[in-house]
Subunit: 205 residues, 2 copies
DNA sequence: ATACTAAACGGACTACGGTCCGGATAATAT
DNA sequence: ATATTATCCGGACCGTAGTCCGTTTAGTAT
């Protein structure tokens, strides 16, 4: 039912045809330089100018390749993102199919919390697109997954909006703020998520 | 217990002493010009340069007065914000004290949704501070209010984190996106909020 | 009135994301 | 090898938020 491409992340294809050799070389140079810079100073300190300079290419090339800073971050995340998507869509239970929907919901939140805490700044930067951070393909997929599980669990309320509320809880910016500024432990986040979805799924009366 | 100042919004006081007459005059000029520009082109199109030019002051003056673009937006919102705060803290039930906590929670969400839909772009821009959008005084106050009501309702789970999840649901950016891009009706939002808090408050077993 | 000072002023300056377009170049056809 | 062309490249350029600092001015003391 939900056969979305496993790799909906932009892989840096400005045109539709095959990639020219210099373009491919520059893409590798850029990704490599980006990872270096992030290693050295953190994702937040990565600027497109510095990236272009480090990679030894012009600034225009950076933007042609990745469209925007958020696009670059998404590309950097695409591997781990695809891996996570594979796990919750096709992997073993309780995250993957096979377990009861509530179990899967709980596991999804826990997985997502772990993911966000691991790739925090990157995930945050990837959503920092000026327009439509809710229509990033990955975000849409999570939303649909949650909605699907809510329906399977027999939710007797608006599943689309309820999935929106639950997605909001898993928003990287909020999670990172809770952990890094407020000092909330990841375990506490996971437990609260469990409490939340358990209550949401239970019938109203 | 929660006696927070009713006006925690920054009112544009760079120093701590009284305001010099030229400073007061310029603040009025700026607020007036800002409202004009927003009326004409919308809040999103308001730039600090245009504002300075329209008000006939230097750009530095704008930033000394309001600190940042977000600070300006907060100042513009402060009246309606204070009014809303007054309603849910001291006003008549079900929003104000007197009604059962669940009723108050439902009313709070409904009120907040209405508020966001009315002052949408402004509220969004006010939270667009680069750092710490969760520590804006008004946001902290809402969070504490929700947490307080959850405790009063006898929630047997982590009230602080649960309040965070519920706050996330009421995030202006998300609400506006749902209404303006996805075409969700305000009534549907309110109903979903009611379903959500009703389930959250109910005991686990 | 004059001198003094703390505060406010203004606009040049920086940093950054993003755009544009004339020139270079890789792939392909001949 | 040469010509052709679609693609890519580079970096000058733009708009915007925010900073800095030399200059001006409002309030006050004398």
């Amino acid at each position: 039912m939900f056969l979305v491409s496993l790799i909906p992340i932009r892989s840096g294809t400005p045109g539709s045809g095959p990639e020219r050799s210099d373009a491919a070389r520059n893409r590798e140079l850029l990704l490599c330089a980006a990872r270096q810079l992030i290693e050295e100073c953190g994702a937040d300190a990565l600027t497109m100018d510095k990236l272009a300079e480090r990679a030894g290419v012009g600034k225009g090339t950076v933007f042609r390749r990745f469209g925007s800073r958020a696009g670059l971050m998404m590309t950097l995340l695409s591997d781990s993102e695809a891996e996570f998507q594979g796990r919750f869509m096709f992997g073993p239970p309780p995250l993957g199919p096979g377990a009861p929907p509530l179990e899967r919901l709980i596991a999804f939140g826990a997985g997502r919390i772990g993911y966000v805490l691991e790739y925090g700044d990157l995930a945050r930067a990837a959503e920092h697109s000026v327009y439509n951070r809710f229509e990033v393909p990955a975000a849409v997929l999570w939303h649909r997954h949650i909605e699907h599980l809510l329906r399977e669990a027999g939710l007797d309320a608006d599943p689309w909006l309820m999935a929106m509320s639950l997605s909001a809880t898993l928003d990287p910016e909020r999670l990172l703020h809770a952990v890094r500024v407020q000092g909330v432990s990841p375990e506490r986040l996971v437990e609260s998520w469990r409490q939340l979805v358990t209550r949401v799924v239970r019938p109203a009366e």
